[in-house]
Symmetry: C2
Subunit: 149 residues, 2 copies
DNA sequence: GTCAGTGCAAACGGTTTGCATGTTT
DNA sequence: AAACATGCAAACCGTTTGCACTGAC
């Protein structure tokens, strides 16, 4: 059994344990999430799912993502101006999104350790390292902009 | 001349310097931004403006905010799930937004120094300290939740 | 057979846009 | 007078919801 298959089975198992029904759309969404190793918007998930099951509706995808998120199997994060991105929950990490090309990158969550500590001690604020992506400009776009100007 | 008056004059001066017209809606928006010492959504700006000029439309407010932002007089930042918040550009700072009560707090931008340095050296990513608010739970909501559970 | 899950279409909140009209310069 | 700014309404995008129906258990 490959690693992807293992992850898929684990997700399905958790669904069963919570008395959720295993339906074709759910299988398809899980398949996409397991296969996609980057961060997908709900719309991208829908389009991937529809390549296999064209009749699955966007609202169903949203509902499935929400259900999976409720079971802590999926997390989403907001990327500034654009649509939220979803992916399977795994090792906790942070996100940064390029303002120019809108690609989201993962960053190790411990780079936020100091920020988290400081927010806690100064404001009593408990940082959620995962939920919102920092903005900035990625290496490629930086380079491209530098050349242009 | 008070500090607020000075800021207002500076904004109007910059508008004139860029051959932008000084109109009643613009004056009203600037007035609101100068007077508001916290972070307002576009809708809040609109409602405040409409208390003085009920006929100013939301789209005009958006256009004015956009224009002011183009002149670097205003900045906005995205706060996760909810509407973006706007305020006069000033000393650069970061933002954190409470996931529970949706209030946005300013944080000194130098708490991001280490994160910025690390993103730069590992990914070549240039952090925009301002543009997206970190998520988490503020002190009050933390306390409230702790009591409830 | 029951009920959770689904598809569809319509509604939503935040934001943007087209166009005819009004106001600043 | 010319150019720009505005109000209105309609469109837009991402997301959520109401409802009748279907399919997993």
């Amino acid at each position: 059994m490959t690693l992807d298959e293992a992850r898929r089975e684990e997700v399905l198992k958790t669904l069963r344990e919570h008395a959720k029904r295993i339906t074709a759309p759910k299988r398809a969404v899980v398949e996409v999430l397991v296969g996609a190793h980057d961060h997908l918007t709900a719309d991208e998930v829908t389009r991937h799912v529809q390549q296999v099951r064209p009749d699955v509706s966007p609202s169903t995808v949203y509902r499935i993502l929400e259900e999976l998120e409720g079971l802590a199997l999926v997390v989403h994060s907001h990327t500034g101006h654009a649509a939220a991105v979803y992916h399977l929950a795994g090792r906790s990490h942070g996100h940064v999104t390029c303002e120019v090309c809108h690609v989201t990158y993962e960053v190790p969550s411990d780079i936020f350790n100091r920020v988290a500590r400081e927010l806690d001690s100064t404001l009593g604020f408990e940082l959620d390292r995962h939920h919102v992506a920092l903005s900035g400009i990625c290496a490629q776009c930086r380079h491209r902009l530098r050349v242009k100007l």
